[in-house]
Amino acid sequence: MMTYIDYKTVVPRVAIALGVFLFLMMPVFTQNQATLSVFILIGLWAIAAMGFTLVLRTGQFSLGQSAFLAIGGYTSAILTVNLEWPFWPSFLMAGLISGMVALLVGMVVLRVGGIYFSIITLALGEIIRIIANQWEGVTRGARGLITSPPPTLSMGFFEINFNAGPIPYFYFTYCLVAVTAVIFWQIGESRLGRSFAGIALNPVLAEHQGIHLMKYRVIAFTLAGVFTGFAGCLYAHFLTVITPFVFGLWQSIQVMIMSIVGGISALVGGPIIGTFLLYFLGEYLTRLGGAGIQPLLFGAVVVLVLLFLPKGTGLIDLWGKFWTKVVWREKEFEFDEVEE
């Protein structure tokens, strides 16, 4: 039997693969600490944005995703600094505890859903931030906990030294991004992902089809919590300090905007693209200088994206349109006009 290779699906995929490959070769081209740090932070925020998108898939709008970054970061920092645990167990504990908190909060809060869920998660984020700021004995308050980098890993013929520079962090971060992306992508393709979409589209119908609403909402929220917790742990150990000021309502809103501008039709691609573009925009605008220019233009860009790419078709949908319209020059299928 002949197998056709449909070049229209292969070529975009090859383009994406090439882009990812070139991106992962980045440390070969540049050893610049500042550039690599920006990419590491982008990776961490992208994980948080993917978590947000997974929760949004079930129709719930979480305004407290940065709380899980904070929980992960503080768990790991407290375990390594105050209790002197080694890095790797506390890394796992960061994800575990963050997931536990998400599970408990989700089991209580997702019952109400909708706008109430948004407001409760907003309150949760603020509570975590205030506690981190006030509990001087454990979190050292506003001065922050000083964390140490992960220990050197030696694998016989070569060793990974996290003290040397940002390159090991770069690969570690993007391993984590890749694991998160693969897991979320597989969830999106599986029965679980279709259940999420069904719940978001029509909760009543989904419940009548035998989909337990609470169960799937809690699963999505917990998964998002676990991976955001891992990202938070890495965040704390990469910056070597964790203060309450990096996690607040503004950061949660940033995660939300990154995810929505990127496009929520794709669980993985949208948040990653959105994080990349908006983080670069933010960094660039910060260098323009002048207080206030950055939020002004940031807000304007987001509003423009929402105005010109309606109904949640974020930037990721432009990718498909780019190939069909610009490269292959296909005509879009149009419905016949109904004459009245």
Partner: protein, 283 residues
Amino acid sequence: MPPAGIWIDGLIQSCIYMTMAFGMVLVFSILGILNWAHGQFYMLGALIVYYTITAAGIPFPLSILITGIIIAGLGILVKKIIIDHIEGDLYVGVATISLIFFFEGGASVLFGIEDKGLSIVLPGVLTLGPISLSYQKLAVIIFTLMVMTAMYFVLNRTKVGLAIKATAQQPDAASLYGISVERLSLIVMGIGCALAAMAGGIMAPVYPISPFMGGIPMIMSLLAIVIGGIGSLTGAIIGGIILGFLNSVIAYYLSYLSEVVLFLLVIFILLVRPQGLFGASLK
């Protein structure tokens, strides 16, 4: 028992949260969206009052009226240019959230980020036995009473008010009776934004003015709406009063942890009674 100053402070705060929450609920009941940038209209109102008084020398009451009119126009522009052209409640919400940054950034670029004070307006203190109340705070209380009475009469005695109530209950039926829902939503957006701006203007002498002053009143009035029940005007007023007093009284005992207590209280109320204390009487 906290001293009288704490109670007066609570009263001032509840006046502000009440006025802002009222405007937000009004907008929500007609447009069906939460305007997350409401606190920024409050901030712009305070800044405009500051500049009309210090730069143009316009008297205080007049400058508050002018502010209300300007910000009502701005709110109508936001509705016409942005809200009307975005589909889906979720995306409108995101757009208004990003307007927060737009307005805060714009205000910092135009007016600078340093704190400004307007304590020259209405100096003097009213002393009633053990209680002393500055005229600035008295003005806030009188203003809120006036606005609430005016809103009560507008909503219950005028044609526009009845149209607003009818549209909130049943938009399709209201438009069948010849009410232009489109024009009404513009009017409501104007009223809501003007209320926030005038609240900011009347508060300008009491608190320092900066481009970032709108965040906390915004969150507090959001919580007030949630406590009172989204869509209920009475709920917004009662929620504002509860939050204003609780915020200052708990802060007297617990200082910084008061916000944690407030948030926990709101979470508790939502879990026990998700529709809020006053259900959804208007919508």
